[in-house]
Amino acid sequence: MSGTVNSSPSLREWLLSDRPASRRQARLGRAYVIWRRFSENRLALAGLLIILGLIVVAVFAGQLAPHDPTQGDLRYARLLPPGAEGYILGTDDQGRDILSRLIYGSRLTLMVIILVAIIAAPIGLLVGTVAGYAGGWVDAVLMRITDIFLAFPKLVLALALVAALGPGIENAILAIAITSWPPYARIARAETMTFRNSDFIHAVKLMGASPIRIVTLHVMPLCTSSLVVRVTLDMAGIILIAAGLGFLGLGAQPPLPEWGAMIASGRRFILDQWWVAGMPGFAILVVSLGFNLLGDGLRDALDPKEAGQ
């Protein structure tokens, strides 16, 4: 994006024009301003790079992984240290290449965060916008329910849910999603309240739009940008909870190369073969750091008031 912009200064002027001729120009111009603010922040760019890297690795796992992630060489390659021939990050107790497992595991990590976001964000958006727009007792009841879920410690609630649903990655995703939506509802409600009585909503109402139409077409789109920031910032926490569930044996089941479960299986060798548990934990740290940096950068770029706080 920045490459094309730098090559032609006229495009830059077109983007930054005070009088955009079309809606498209205005939108692109706004995106460009946000991007410029975002790309000034080097740490945020590093975060973006990490996440893009994660996506690329997940998509091309089959091409990138040098070995099979589930079938190891039990005879010659058990617990080899990092740097051993053909195994850059070493092997685990089943003779499986840790690098290949990490590469395939990135798919699971990505799947968890995408599914949690797809389930939790719309629930939060719906609850928050309906509560904020409807007001009155609907608002009171919905927000009470939200507060009750907020009062629960996330990890403990997820643990209890998975215990009831049974272990497995699908149930872990469901449990995390159920614990994740309340903050989104709070944000969506707060946003909705700020423009519930604004002129454009009144105008749409006078034109005869139904409440459902107003909420879905006019209120929800305006709540998305702050929601995106919050979801991005939450990704790191989601990864950590998913890894924690995996570590306790409640998430992905073996032989799936889920990073948290890999740490759990390496725990027995931690004193002599530290890399079996060490490497996957490092991968989790890097990815969740990436999401934190990206989320911080996005928040600063979208909302300059908060910058530096």
Binding site: I145, I148, F149, P153, L155, L161, A243, I284, S288, N292
Partner: protein, 354 residues
Amino acid sequence: MSTATPIVKGRHGRSRASRRLWSVLGFLVTVVTTFLGLLAITFFIGRVVPIDPALAIVGDRAPAHVVERVREELGLNLPLWQQFFIYLKQALTGDFGTSVLTTHPVMEDIKRVFPATVELATVGTIIGAMFGVPLGVLAAVKRGSLIDQLVRLIGLIGYSVPIFWLGLLSLVFFYAKLQWVAFPGRIDIVYEYTFTPVTGFFLIDAIMQGEWEIFWDVFRHIILPASLLGYVSLAYISRMTRSFMLNELSQEYVIAARAKGLSEARIIWFHALRNAAVPLITVIALSYASLLEGSVLTETIFSWPGLGLYITNSLQNADMNAVLGGTIIIGAVFIGINVLSDILYRLLDPRTSR
């Protein structure tokens, strides 16, 4: 809040007491409904989510009449609202059923293990506040400097690191390689049978009994897991301290204090920090609550015999009574701390006591 227009002024004075009563009542209703909601959710998890809770207890190979008897005993044949009512009554009297694993009542188990978790979380919070607050202040004062960046990095890693992984690595380093700390559990097996805890908080018990050797041993056990938890809360506390301090340092009273010729140290540590302290207390209380949660994974790593280990052990044995009992207790403490920090905030901040 202050909508005191001249028209309603006459009524305003009279209704102040009743308005305060209403706000207290509203607050109480909030707390009670939150707690009831907590019980409703755990009831839902325990009774509705599993396809058949009776089967979950006796296993699917049990003969039909055993399953039927367990169903009767659990009251599963009653309508759901009646079941919830019974559940509510039991939970409010502290009856969470019997643990399959330990064969004791769950409440008895929790009473036994809870002090260990509280002690760990308390020491963790003390460590977190002790380092987090000064680091946050330093970062705010030297905004944009190398120290500020460093504090930010420490905080970011604290937010991003899987605590159980960090725990494992620190065990390798401080226990296996350096042998600085003791492991596993709270106390060495040598002392386990000669030492009789009174309060359940081993550090305090050891001091009260004048057993310095035991105190040192307990300290060597608690320091590593508590430091880990402390690091997690440090990340949060230092970030919030920095933000509060930046806010305070840009206020006009700071300029006035500088103009008066007060030393910079006095302005920062005495004037600004004291004003930042009110919201900070809320932050520290909230981080204390989150440490109770964080202890679930940490206790598993360090074999710390607290509530977290109790819950994870019960999970591994599908002991739902124990899991839900532990969940309710942690949830209740969570709510309690939130309420407490709310009250503290109202008491300490003169602006809210109007």
